[in-house]
Amino acid sequence: MQTDTACIVAALFGCGLYLVLSRNLVRTLFGFLLLSNAVNLLLLATSGDPRGKEAPIVGAGNFPAVDPLPQALILTAIVISFAVTAFLVVLVYRLALDHGTTDSEKLFAARSDGEENTP
């Protein structure tokens, strides 16, 4: 499970980071989602090659199993990234409502103007 996972995670990381670096905050949000998937897969890769192994559910005879710890970590990570996603979405939504744009350059310029006006 090394080479193929490595390729997938690398590709997801590349796309995600490219999107995160965008000026458009919506694209940043999407990039964040890709990145969180990428990180989950990265963690999964550390649980070792699954071929010939079973899910970490102890029962009669299904040994050896994959490492359960990365899976527990990923499960936590998935839920947390859901919470963060919800927060980011509503943040972008609010910015769009208040300022009519999701262009971070424009938002930044508006803020700088505001700062100059109110010393």
Binding site: T5, C15, N24, N40, A55, E105
Partner: protein, 808 residues
């Protein structure tokens, strides 16, 4: 009643009173002033009972364990010094609370806050003086500063009051922290925070430099609290507090904590060479400086504040020059100051109340209208000037006597002290004359006539009591000896105090006194000839300007550093992070090259071994939508790509033997897509998002972006290959699989890790979930508009030019 219980009651009563007054609604607890007074009186009785039960020269420790791990215990030392200060705190507290009845009349709405603050202060003050554990002492020490902050800023609507409160808090808290440093260092040398133990055993002779550093740090704390140069400026600025607070905290009790600390340190450090110059030079300079500034000031409370600074300087200097065997007259000086300064502050409050001003240029001729107050003020001023028949005279005689004897012992410092003391005594006569003559005699200005209303007896009696004490003890000083005798502390006091007498004969000190009084009167006559106004304190002598400058610069530096590290553009933050990671990885790779190439790292990597056609196929369906997400321009297409990629990750989890993950991912992906669809769909419908693809950027920026993304992707790929390729023989996961049944009684190891083995993580996680929910709801709120704004259509709804509103 045992002493322990009694002391606990004494310490807890003010705290309980403060809580009750602050929290219980007025309906159920009327007259907070009387409750505070009752609490203070009960505590005073308690302290006196403890004192009488403990007998003469008590010294015992009451100890309750608190945090033994870091040496912190609720340990209290009852000895003469702590009892003396406790009596002062509570006795003065009773008088101030009586006075407050009059001062705060007509402001019933503020009573609870005011009395709760005073009781809180009283409690922390008692804690400080009784503390035996030095860490505990520090805690109470800072609590008194906090109480002082709250009380100075009592008139919180006034900018001046807020400024004074901030200044005093900053100065005393920061110097308090320096003191904490000294306490910790002292513990390193002596091995204990226990004051009684440190007092009993001589200091080790080994760590001389450490001990000197300790002493300097501790003394900084004392100087900050007692407003000694260079920290003297906060005290006059604290005069924005209500007058009872000034009388109580800023002349009688809190500022004496520095003196208390010096008295505590005297038996420990008194014989070190550093002691006398370290304390003496700043203390005597402060004494002189305070007196000069007092003469220049025209605000009644400012005069009193500067004269307090001056007197505090003298008291510290007194310990500085104390002979090796111990001092003898510190209690006399402290009591004397308490009597006259407390009285004068209360008089200042009365005058301000009655005449509407405390600027001595705008006052005059109040004696016929306020006879009792004028008499109190006259006695207090006489005591301040050191005229006979008052405690001031006694205090000054002994002051001069001791200073003359120190003259021969301390060389240059001694002569400096003599000059300062004599000049200060002279200045004191001058500004005492100024206060009494300018306020109570002369012509009454019309503004005063127009404003005047008589003060209540609640206000006029307490200063009369204090002045009466000064007079009584001045006329019959022999009473004082037996009163003060039980409070003496071995090690601090030599026990060779002379018997106080009203007349000591024609001594050298008397002649000097006489000369000083005459010269002082002459100085007043010259400096305030006729109606010449007071010069006021020139701005180059105002140290608070330096403080304000420092304060501003600190904040500016903080802003600048934040601007340096925290940019508003998330791209630059991401770039910074990735650049840092790149440099670290690069350095690592560089090191590897020197350590023999990448061979050792890459030897385990099997580039072709880990391939599986099915997983590769799924991988293609994960990566292709991700690329589509980058390339598509319509938002529906992008969302679809995101969804497909996420759902294919689910399949990948299944292939990775992770059924729990697959289920979770499936559901989370669904809910996330719904949430994004809901909110962004609305934005898209209303045309708020101009475009969904990337916004144009320069070729250079675009190139940088692609380069960073690609190199990070490559780095991550290599990282996975290397990490997963490394043989790890005993992964921790095996432990969970082996023990999931016998320890957690479950078969699903992932679930047992989540709820049992690592349950705390899960608890944290669901807390994060809840916090995120509250954050989301918060972002769906805005400031409530008033009806006017609603009518004007000032609305945070789309299309109304909100960007512009945000700017204006």
């Amino acid at each position: 009643m045992s002493l322990g219980l009694g002391l606990a009651l004494v310490l807890l009563l003010p705290a309980a009173g403060a809580l009750a007054v602050a929290l219980v609604p007025r309906r159920w607890l009327p007259f907070p002033g009387f409750i505070a007074l009752g609490v203070a009186m009960a505590s005073l009785c308690g302290v006196l009972a403890i004192g009488s039960k403990a007998g003469a020269h008590p010294s015992f420790v009451l100890d309750w364990s608190w945090v033994p791990e870091c040496g912190l215990s609720l340990s209290f030392l009852v000895d003469g010094l702590s009892l003396f200060f406790a009596v002062i705190v509570l006795g003065m507290g009773v008088l101030v609370l009586v006075y407050s009845r009059g001062y705060m009349a007509g402001r019933e709405g503020d009573h609870r806050r005011f009395y709760a603050g005073l009781l809180f202060f009283m409690g922390s003050m008692l804690g400080t003086v009784f503390s035996n554990n030095l860490l505990l002492l520090f805690i109470f020490w800072e609590l008194t500063g906090l109480a002082s902050f709250l009380l100075i800023g009592f008139e919180h609507t006034s900018e001046e009051a807020r400024r004074g409160a901030r200044m005093s808090l900053l100065v005393t808290a920061v110097t308090g922290l320096v003191m904490l440093l000294g306490i910790v260092m002292l513990k390193q040398v002596t091995g204990t925070y226990d004051l009684a133990t440190i007092l009993r055993s001589p200091l080790p002779q080994t760590h001389k430099d450490w001990l000197d550093a300790c002493l300097v740090l501790l003394v900084v704390g004392a100087f900050g609290k007692s407003a000694i140069f260079p920290f003297h400026f906060w005290l006059p600025n604290a005069m924005t507090a209500p007058t009872p607070v000034s009388a109580y905290l800023h002349s009688a009790t809190m500022v004496k904590l520095g003196i208390f600390l010096c008295a505590r340190l005297f038996p420990i450090f008194g014989e070190r060479e550093l002691w006398a110059p370290l304390l003496g030079v700043p203390a005597f300079s402060t004494m002189l400086l305070g007196a000069v500034l007092a003469l220049m000031s025209s605000d009644l409370k400012a005069i009193l504040a500067y004269s307090t600074v001056s007197q505090l300087g003298y008291l510290i200097g007194y310990y500085a020059l104390g002979p090796n065997g111990g001092v003898d007259y510190d209690y006399l000086h402290i009591l004397n100051h308490l009597f006259y300064k407390g009285s004068l502050f209360m008089v200042a409050g009365i005058v301000e109340h009655a005449a509407g001003s405390r600027d001595i240029g705008k006052l005059g001729g109040l004696a016929p209208r306020l006879p009792l107050t004028a008499a109190s003020c006259a006695i207090a001023c006489a005591a301040m000037a050191g005229l006979p028949l008052t405690t001031g005279f006694l205090s000054k005689e002994f002051m001069l006597k001791e200073i003359f004897s120190a003259f021969s012992v301390h060389g240059y410092l001694g002569s400096f002290a003599v000059v300062c003391v004599v000049l200060t005594s002279l200045l004191k006569v001058a500004f005492s004359a100024k206060i009494i003559l300018r306020v109570f005699f002369g012509k009454e200005p019309e503004t005063v006539t127009a404003h005047f209303h008589a003060p209540s007896a609640w206000m006029t009696l307490p200063p009369a009591v204090l002045s009466g004490c000064a007079l009584l003890a001045g006329i019959a000083p022999s009473f004082l000896n037996p009163l003060l005798q039980p409070f003496t502390v071995p090690g601090l006091h030599a026990g060779t105090a002379e018997h106080f007498q009203i007349w000591h004969g024609w001594t050298r000190e008397l002649w000097v006194s006489l000369a000083v009084v005459l010269a002082g009167l002459a100085l007043y006559r010259v400096s305030h000839y006729g109606d010449r106004p007071c010069p006021g304190v020139p701005s180059y002598l105002k140290a608070e300007r330096l403080f304000e400058w420092l304060h501003e610069k600190t904040i500016a530096a903080g802003r600048a550093s934040v601007r340096l590290f925290q940019t508003d553009r998330e791209q630059s933050a991401v770039l910074a992070v990735t650049a840092f990671a790149g440099v670290t990885l690069g350095a690592f790779a560089w090191k590897q090259v020197f350590a023999g190439g990448f061979g050792p790292l890459l030897q385990f990597v099997d580039f072709t071994g880990g391939m599986s056609p099915l997983r590769l196929l799924v991988g293609v369906f994960i990566v292709l939508p991700a690329l589509g997400l980058v390339l598509f321009r319509s938002w529906g297409g992008q969302l679809a790509c995101l969804g497909i990629s996420g759902f294919m990750v689910t399949v990948y989890f299944v292939l990775g033997r992770a059924p729990d993950l697959a289920l979770t991912q499936l559901l989370v992906e669904t809910v996330s897509i719904v949430a994004i669809y809901l909110l962004l769909g609305r934005c898209a419908k209303q045309g708020l998002l101009e475009q969904w693809s990337d916004l144009p950027s320069s070729a250079m920026a675009q190139g940088l972006r692609v380069a960073v993304s690609c190199s990070v992707a490559a780095a991550v790929g290599v990282l996975i290959l290397v990490v997963t390729g490394m043989p790890h023989h005993n992964p921790v996961g095996n432990f969970f699989i082996r023990h999931t049944e016998d320890m957690a009684h479950g078969k699903n190891a992932v679930n047992t890790i989540l709820v049992d083995f690592r349950g705390l993580d899960t608890l944290g996680e669901i807390t994060v979930l809840l916090a995120a929910m509250l954050g989301c709801l918060g972002l769906l709120m805005r400031y409530r508009r008033n009806s006017e704004e609603q009518k004007q259509g000032r609305d945070l709804t789309p299309g109304l030019g909100l960007g512009e509103e945000g700017k204006s």
